[in-house]
Amino acid sequence: MAEIRVMREDLLPPQQPPKRHLISIADLERADVERLLATARSFGRSLEREVKKLPTLRGRTVINLFYESSTRTASSFELAAKRLSADTMTVRSSVSSVTKGESLKDTVRTLASFDPDVIVIRHEQIGAPQLVAATVDAHVVNAGDGKHQHPTQALLDLYTMQEEFGRLEGLHVAIVGDVLHSRVARSDIQALAMVGAHVTCVGPPTLIPRGIETLGCSVSYDIGAIASADVVYVLRMQNERMEKGQAYLPSIREYAAHWGVTPERLRPGQKIMHPGPMNRGVEIDARVADSPDALVETQVRSGLVVRMAVLYDLLTQGPVNVANVAQIHEVA
């Protein structure tokens, strides 16, 4: 039988600093954003190789907990973890104990018994990622909570713009549509303002919340305001906004006529972005969606490397040495 040794307290390792999370863009500073984008770029280069898998996070566990349907975000996080050799699994609320009435806290505690290093959570309610972070000893990444935040979407959008224009500072981005209900808009406005881009929110007054300017943007109700933008960022318009009892808008038809992004409202060279999924013919004309100026698929590709960068950054504590990433790749 092994000897039981009692360690003196002063010989115990120092206490771990509090776990870092990515819950809101507001948690980041400009240097963090720039570091994450630089890491993403180095991962982007590594993905050009024939063998795309890196051993960086071997032995680490990433759990994706999705309470809302999602194709691109869930698959993007899962693939990002796999590309870094982490063990990963995706838990969806429709097939978990959630349907049996288990609370978020209990579900997360159950998953925490597997000692995950990272929990990625998407939830329809604001505050869910905070609750997870307060409940478990793992890094928490917010993959979208209600209308609050979607920070990795903002980072992949910034990455896409930077790759396209070679800069972010001074870019003019028009965000068009339902800003009121959009976590993407809130994260994007904050992130773009942080790196020195100009943002104009464009949409009907019923869907632009009072006070949104305080996040660092201007507001226009006139679709003509997109003319001066370098990037026209189109938000998804949800049908339920026109439903009885909500009545933010009289009809889809009227919205499309006044705020739909059509070729006629764009000038050559403007880039089009959309977080997906798109409603062609509603917020975005099919010709615009299919034009070479639309960066929608680029955004999805950016999402993979940006999420790799986020997982890597959280798990390796602190700034990334880009050279190290390259070296690791050589070893692989």
Partner: protein, 432 residues
Amino acid sequence: MLTQKQLLDADVVIRGARVLDPTEKLDASVDVRIDAGVVTAIGANLDTNEHQVIDAAQLLLVPAFVDPHVHLRTPGREDEETVATGTAAAAAGGYCAILAMPNTEPVVDSASVLGSLVELAEQEALVPTGFMAAISKGQHGEELTEMLELAEAGAAAFTDDGRPVTSAGLMRRALQYSQLTGRRLGLHCEEPTLSSGGQVHEGVVSAQLGFGGYPSVAESLMVERDVALARYEEQAIHVMHVSASESVEAIAAGHAQGVAVTGEVTPHHLCLTDEAVRTLDTNFKMNPPLRGEEDRQVLIEALRSGTLSCVATDHAPHARQEKEVPFEEAPFGVTGLETAFAVLYTELVETGVLPLETLLERMSAGPARAYGLPVPRIAIGERANLVLVDPQASWRVSEDGFRSRSVNSWLLGRTLKGQVKTTIANGRVVFG
């Protein structure tokens, strides 16, 4: 109208406290003797009559508090609060009378439900408790309750608290009919088509965080409507948990027109703004929501001037598992009975914002008058309704210190100044 369980009347002499009663214009360091629950002498060096003596040097002796807005959660949610635990919390908070809201399961909308509550209070209520009955059956806002029978069964007042009386027509009928009972109407003012989906105050914080907004105008529009109806019907109304500056303006306008309208404000609306919501801590989620700093300043000024004459806790216990959820899923409400005086003393009196006398008046005589309850007074011949407070004592708010069955306090972990030492309610020592 108020029910308390059987307890021994106090025989006690309180020695050397600063006795402060704004209603009696009393402020002196004297002794107070209580014989069989009645104040029999106020003066220097009183005979003890062989009573228990409480040495109260350095302490404040003031009229005990009246809380016009408490949720006792009984019947239906005894896991969150009972008459016994809620009134024990009230006693610890320095209260000698509380009014319980009728939004229980079932709703207090019939004499049978009310009668069983009164019987329960006769067994359990440490502090005299009045039960308010609903204005409308089931609080559905469609038909009036049997107000005359409810008043005979002991209803202290009427309210649909938790919900507004949405129909202006029903509100008018309630004003007309309730005058026969001699009981006031307490009004939860909220225009539901404007507050629908609202989680927090509509403003910069809601825009930035993405919360559904609950705008100030959702409250003030209803206050304006009800002041107009009260004016037309020449009836008194009491506006509950005022949160918005526009509502204060509407009440002041009513006063200028001679309308008998009173208003209450909670400690959390006096001490916090919607900036607190950024923490996403569900103990900052309440209805009405925390509003802006301008609103807070207007509420403090209204309490000082008397436009709002009552402090009400809106003590709203919730089960732990119901608050330990994402912010949007959490129910509205926080507890407050055990911290109200201390937090207001710390935040408003110690900082010089509000005179102590004003706070005492608004926590005791103000709410008593608003609902026609006896005003607690420190006077010879009156039953003793007194609270002994140590204004110098600091204490830390913690979960294990609560007598309430629930711990959803926004003050957990905070250190407060001013501590209730002894509460005497209706001549009985109920705390300390």
